[in-house]
Symmetry: C2
Subunit: 586 residues, 2 copies
């Protein structure tokens, strides 16, 4: 037997018991006649003590021990003379009378501590050692807990988990597919799913009514920071529902997870923010509503006063940074530099200090008197002591830049605490999105997304104005999920394809089997998909999804631990009837 | 709102309520002035009634309805005059005052009934309609229930579900990999996992202690009947355990599933049968122990009596088919034909009828007298009225053929009821398997499987005799799962590689990163993997795993519904730096 207890289990009540523990050597401290060893496993750390009564043989063994050796020890639980209240097992220790080295360890390339000395690359190469560290293990424990609780909730709501295939069909739509050559069908390929979208809609046609799956999805994209070629989705679909039904069920899921996983009670309905309001107030369709600082548009107020920069633009708006009128020149310059960064893209920043004494000091004093500025201040709900930060330019670009500035100010003012959670729904997304390059509309969500009934007339008159029954779920400015009510009516679908410039033949080729299925009695249905990695990372208070994936890939799509992708045998390619284009360049 | 209730929900207590239901038209019966319509959804069937009070408008609508139309109806729950005790909703019906056709349906290519008129191929092409049928839906409901309960049990036992990657590295070992070309690393490939074996062992090195995952695996094999290129595994691994710990935990899982999913109590320990005993008694390492009819070897008893066929062979054994002495010539001929089939491969069948009157009649009366046959009968525990069926030949081949005959007799005698479950463990598998063609040993399980301690000396003297800490879980003659205790000691691993003829360089190339990981303190560990599709099919009483997969592939690895695999755009291949070998042959 390797153990009677785990290393996280023993308490003062166990004093006097003979126990067996197994685990890894965390540390060895020699204090003259006494040796203290900390033994670690997944469940915790227990202190072992070797004192003057320890046999010579045992002492010799302990002298051989190094960090990360695997040992099994037998001994008696005793009360510690100096207790450690920070450790759950801190009231006790084990006087060891038996020690067996189960396995040795080379010296690890970095320390297995909460704060390690290992750099990112080294830790990824030795990910199996990185995973031994408490914070990383805690992340995966959180992920495990999330997965189990999600299933518990959805099972309780009568959702059926149904596995859809991984070897599916490539469609030249959306992101790039990973493809898989078929040996049994030479010259043909499977594709790995970017999402089970069509399959879940087929399952609704099949009458499964409520489907979910926690499932890997694949996208062969050029990886931006924090994107992974394989990622996990909580994929859900329901029949005989309207948007409201879906929001209710999945707001329920979110509240359940907040409660079960984070211990947080959300009793009120989550805020629902229209896409339009989100853009106008936050400049983003994934607003971080942990703090206010909403945009105020002052285009009308600020134009016509002779300030050419303002007079020539489409849009002028600002935020009110409360109690920041005392910002120094240096601080304001830093903010100006921030908004001028290419990633943010503003041309400059206008500030208005509303001083405690009621006076104003602004970067546009030449053009605007105290009366003008007072008007802005009133409009923007500023009080003496506040600082107004104003950007101007094209509407979309300026909203985007002001969003960045707002988040930056939120960070600077400590308004974005990772342990505070502010969930919301963003609803009423536009149905279509105009693509300047191709001069045509694209589906904002996907081509099966249903328009709002009240907007149907706009198909003929102004399709760009149509709103969709589409919704995103956002926590702390991070898009956690999104979905839509689907079109299930053949005529409406035709109109939609027409608006997207998709011909009948093209529709047939791309979505043929789904359209065929819809001929046999498709129910009204809709769904949502959540990014599981992302949800875990937000709950874990991290910005990186990699921290919540056991074996992530780097930004070149490589797994540096197993050194993959890699070359394959010529025989394998032969069997697949494939040639490499440049076989001799490597 | 689409519904206040589902079609499976209404009972006599609901009489008098106004309800809204949505679903598919199962059938329409016109009985003069009355029309009865059955409305179906996932949850059940409810009868709608339209009588003389029905408005003309509504009557007109019902006249348009066809099978599988999707409708929403409003009406009042009333008590049926002639109740249907076979239907959960059979006490009530709905008098409809409102009907909306949500979607029409073309006439389905086969009937959506428990017993359909659709052939296999047609049902696969229209799988989304096949899935509407009760038995198929029930299979996937069983699968869903299994998945949830497995997670509940393992979570309760402190197993963590950890997702391992799908884009991994090809290893030219075992079955053939599916490979995935990497665009970002031209000329290089990922492989899809055949199992997460190495990753779960790495997770043990990482200290996760108890891991599981319900996960898709991939094998590019020439498909035999009922094999799928992608299949689902319940993959588990534990640290600081011996074989007994693993058997205990997973016997617990099986008992829990029998109880929760099938309502069956298994209170006794499952039988544990050594590999040797399984082969000697059943001729199979996955014995169906729903019935006895064990083999009796009579080589010594039967040789030396002048019957050349017997005298010249390695092995003679038989089974006792109780109360079958009355078998006719025709029945016995059929059995002889059965064993002579190429798949079974015996040369002939010897029978001995032990008649009710105590006399014997056999196909070898010329060589064996009543005394001889009585001796056989005694040895084989036969009573008057029994029939002995005997095969002779090489030991392996004869055991295999006698296994087939035993199962055939089990079927003929009704001893293999699909609702009776007989689980067992098969243990003490051989460590190595001699390959005649390559004249070397292969690992029976895999190269990390640990030999039994007491057999270690055999490495030098008789490696073929070594037994492994390996075990299979079998229900009703179907292998549901298998696993082993792993080698975690570097020296022992070296010996194992030596026995397998794997050089140091080869080991480094194939298992390098796992061997590297083992240098940093690998704990003793072991695990098991269950075939999830298979387990579902056995619980569901079916021999086909395809019945328990929502969207299975056919025997050529094709999904005929979505028509995959398929050709891809030249541009996709271009991006992947690949050429097809015979681009113009298609």
């Amino acid at each position: 037997m390797y153990r009677t207890h785990t290393c996280g289990e023993l308490r003062i009540d166990n004093v006097g018991q003979e126990v067996i523990l197994s685990g890894w050597i965390q540390g060895v401290r020699n204090l003259g006649g006494m040796t203290f060893i900390t033994l670690r496993d997944r469940y915790g750390i227990t202190q072992l003590v070797f004192d003057e009564n320890t046999s010579d043989e045992l002492k010799e063994k302990t002298a051989q021990l190094g960090r990360e050796f695997v040992v099994k020890v037998g001994g008696k639980v005793i009360e510690r003379s100096s207790k450690n209240p920070k450790m759950p097992t801190g009231d006790i220790e084990i006087t060891v009378n038996n020690l067996e080295i189960l396995n040795k360890s080379e010296i690890p390339p970095f320390t297995i501590e909460d704060e390690t000395d290992g750099g990112d690359e080294l830790r990824m190469k030795y990910r199996y050692l990185d995973l031994r560290r408490n914070p990383v293990r805690a992340n995966l424990e959180l992920r495990h807990r999330m997965g189990q609780e999600i299933r518990k909730y959805l099972d309780g709501e009568k959702f059926m988990e149904i596995e859809t295939p991984y070897l599916i069909k490539s469609t030249p739509e959306g992101a790039r597919d990973f493809i898989v050559p078929s040996r049994m069908n030479p010259g043909e390929f499977y594709a790995l799913p970017q999402s089970p979208q069509t399959f879940k809609q087929l399952l609704m046609v099949s009458g499964f009514d409520r489907y979910f799956q926690i499932v890997k999805c694949f996208r062969d994209e050029d990886l931006r920071a924090d994107r992974q070629p394989e990622f996990t989705q909580i994929d859900c679909e329901m029949s005989f529902v309207e948007q409201e039904d879906i929001l209710t069920i999945f707001e329920g899921l979110a509240k359940y997870l907040f409660k079960e996983v984070k211990g947080l009670d959300f009793t009120e309905q989550f805020p629902r923010i229209s896409y339009e309001e989100a853009m106008n107030s936050y400049g983003s369709d994934k607003p971080d509503i942990r703090f206010g600082m909403k945009f105020s548009e002052i285009t009308k107020l600020a134009q016509g006063k002779g300030f050419k920069v303002f007079d020539s633009v489409e849009y002028i708006a600002g935020i009110n940074a409360q109690a920041c009128a005392t910002y120094t020149r240096k601080q304001l310059d830093a903010l100006t530099d921030f908004v001028k960064r290419p990633q943010v893209g503003a041309n400059g920043l206008v500030y208005v200090k509303y001083n405690e004494d009621g006076s104003f000091k602004s970067s546009v004093d030449k053009f605007f008197g105290a009366e003008d500025l007072q008007e802005w201040a009133n409009f923007m709900n500023a009080k003496p002591g506040d600082l107004l930060l104003i950007l101007a330019g094209g509407k979309d670009k300026t909203q985007s830049a002001l969003n960045d500035l707002r988040l930056e100010m939120g960070d600077r003012l400590g308004l974005r605490d990772k342990d505070t959670f502010a969930p919301c729904w963003v609803v009423d997304f536009p149905l279509l999105e105009w693509n300047e390059d191709e001069e045509r509309f694209f589906a904002k969500h996907h081509p099966f997304t249903s328009p709002k009934k009240e907007d149907l007339d706009l198909f003929e008159t102004d399709p760009g104005k149509m709103r969709a029954n589409a919704y995103d779920f956002v926590i702390n400015g991070v898009e956690i999920g999104g979905g839509s009510i689907r079109i299930f009516d053949a005529d409406l679908q035709k109109k939609m394809f027409a608006a997207l410039g998709i011909s009948k033949d093209e529709a047939e080729e791309k979505f043929g089997f789904l359209l065929d299925a819809f001929k046999f009695g498709a129910p009204p249905h809709g769904g949502i998909a959540f990014g599981f990695d992302r949800w875990c990372s937000v709950f874990g208070g991290s910005e990186s999804i990699r921290d919540f994936i056991a074996f992530p890939k780097n930004n070149s799509g490589r797994d540096v631990m197993i050194d993959s992708p890699s070359e394959v045998d010529a025989k394998q390619l032969e069997e697949l009837a494939l040639n490499l284009k440049k076989p001799d360049l490597k």
